[in-house]
């Protein structure tokens, strides 16, 4: 696992700040280098700027100060946006389109014809175990299945980088554990780099090779904790002393960031 952390940089954030038009400082002076093949979690309370940081990496938001380089070009300026997959907190599917058409969307927007894209869409659906659901509509699916469609859509362009914004926050514990394992296997099998935003200590420790702990008001990075061991991780990993140790480590780091304002919520 050593080579993972020493791999060439995929994302470079230099002194990145974001101030919104209403004056809120969402993020202050974030500097971070994420290497190829890393699985990095942004962990923190609400208002710590973790989602804002993710949006800036994707290019959806522009930083107010500083610069972000992704895959050798400024964030949001790749040729076609194909090298990044993005998974939102909600599944964000088009309710009027079938599962197939939802997953086909990124390819359609790049001008691919349906017949030419069929194999890739089916491959992406098979990745998340939904090969039989191509003709279903989103409303016919459970929350976990919708999220799988969303992941298939992010994977259909065969991205190098997968950005996930609290993707499983709204799901029940069992579905969440299952999807965590699926994301891990996608990461391992497809040479992905993942940036995963979460407010769950356990989720971040289970998934990541590195946890970036953030604090709120203003949003900033306070700890950067490497947790490279334990791969491939599975249900057994949750029982290891290493896992509980890491949970305590990260939990303590997070606790230190919480002000009384947060605790009074």
């Amino acid at each position: 696992m050593e080579n993972r952390t020493q791999a060439p940089a995929l994302i470079e954030m230099r002194d990145v700040s974001k101030q919104f038009a209403n004056g809120t400082v969402a993020l202050r002076d974030m500097s971070l280098t994420i290497g190829k093949g890393e699985f990095v979690s942004f962990l923190g309370p609400s208002g710590c700027g973790k989602s804002t940081a993710l949006k800036m990496i994707s290019g959806l938001l522009a930083p107010s100060q500083g610069e972000i380089v992704v895959n050798g070009h400024p964030a949001g300026h790749s040729a076609d946006g194909e090298d990044i997959g993005y998974v939102f907190q909600e599944a964000t599917l088009m309710p009027w389109a079938t599962v197939f058409d939802n997953v086909f969307l990124p390819l359609k927007l790049h001008g691919l014809r349906r017949t030419d894209a069929r194999a890739r869409v089916e491959e992406a659906l098979a990745m998340v175990g939904l090969a039989n659901f191509a003709k279903s509509y989103p409303r016919e699916l459970s929350g976990g299945m919708k999220m799988r469609v969303s992941i298939a859509r992010a994977m259909v362009t065969r991205p190098k980088l997968l950005l996930m914004d609290e993707p499983f926050a709204a799901l029940d514990e069992m579905t969440r554990a299952k999807l965590n394992d699926e994301v891990l296997s996608l990461w391992e099998n497809h040479g992905l780099s993942v940036v995963f935003v979460t407010h769950s200590v356990f989720e971040s420790v289970y998934l990541s090779s590195r946890v970036v702990v953030m604090a709120a008001r203003p949003g900033r990075v306070v700890h950067d904790i490497a947790l490279p061991g334990g791969y491939p991780r599975n249900a057994a990993y949750r029982m290891t002393p290493e896992y509980s140790q890491n949970c305590r480590l990260v939990s303590d780091a997070l606790e230190g960031t919480l002000s009384h304002v947060d605790l009074n919520h």
Binding site: L60, I84, F88, W96
Partner: protein
């Protein structure tokens, strides 16, 4: 929602009792209204006959039906005129409403400057503007068309503008991430998001176009061969031909019902497979 999501390969268990129940319900949906209407007509017929109500006050349904048959050709001609007027004004309302709605959705400043005019058009009763329009526009048909159009136009405009703005924000972000062109965004995101709003507007505008067409013709008070059902009603009222009034009224209602059914059917055909408003829930 009771659609099974556990195993898609096995179709929902369509047991016989369920199919039978569904069929029975579908039959009832058609049969019940027909039976009630026939019962109401029979009661009407009976009360008129029993109380010996003179036909110049309230004609019996049978007399209205006779009048309908006797005056068939003149009534049909008038109905044709009203249908033409209604459909053309609805068509123009759709074209104008959708076009202006798109402009509104694209540009806030344009919306802010033009919206007051649309509201003024909407809140001023058409019956109050109609005399002016009839003076300014020499062609009567065109004047009637403008009146009906004014009434039907606003719901389409307002709902199209709201609908085009109602697309999910995360989906908008997704389209940005994949570098969608403005045309792709319109075609694949904004138009489907706006469709439920547009369909709701169409249902309202269909009925309003008919009301506009009839009201405008009342104001115009046109006489002669090439006129609509409103003129037949006016004419019959001058001559005290109450059965003929009822016959024309019946045709107006029938027209309204057909428009309602057609727009409802269209809405279900377009949205039925995905939008909550048109999905039939089981159980």
């Amino acid at each position: 929602m009771s659609i099974s999501t556990t195993d898609p390969t096995v179709p929902a268990p369509m047991t016989d009792p369920r199919i039978a129940r569904e069929r029975r319900e579908r039959r009832l949906r058609v049969v019940l209204p027909i039976v009630t209407i026939i019962a109401a007509l029979a009661l009407w017929e009976f009360l008129v006959w029993f109380n010996e109500v003179p036909h110049y006050l309230i004609p019996a349904p049978s007399l209205i039906a006779q009048t309908l048959v006797r005056d068939w050709s003149s009534l049909m001609q008038s109905a044709g005129f009203t249908v033409r007027l209604t459909l053309m004004s609805l068509g123009l309302a759709i074209i104008g409403g959708v076009a202006l709605g798109m402009v509104f959705a694209l540009s806030r400043p344009v919306e802010m400057s033009l919206f007051p005019f649309a509201v003024i058009l909407q809140v001023t009763p058409v019956i109050a503007i109609a005399p002016l329009i009839l003076i300014y526009v020499s062609n009567t048909f065109a004047a009637l068309l403008i009146c009906a159009w004014i009434v039907a136009f606003f719901p389409i405009l307002s709902n199209t503008a709201i609908g085009l703005r109602s697309a999910d924000h995360n989906l908008r972000d997704l389209f940005s991430l994949y570098r969608a062109t403005p045309w792709q965004r319109l075609r694949y995101l904004l138009i489907p998001s706006a469709l439920p709003y547009f369909m709701a507007a169409l249902k309202i505008a269909g009925g309003l176009a008919l009301i506009g067409a009839v009201v405008a013709e009342f104001v115009a008070g046109t006489a002669g061969q090439n006129t609509g059902l409103a003129s037949r009603i006016l004419e019959a009222s001058f001559r005290n031909e109450i059965p003929r009034m009822f016959a024309a009224l019946f045709l107006v209602s029938l027209l309204g019902i057909v428009i309602f059914l057609a727009t409802s059917w269209l809405s279900r055909a377009v949205l039925g497979h995905w939008h909550e408003s048109e999905i039939r829930r089981e159980g």
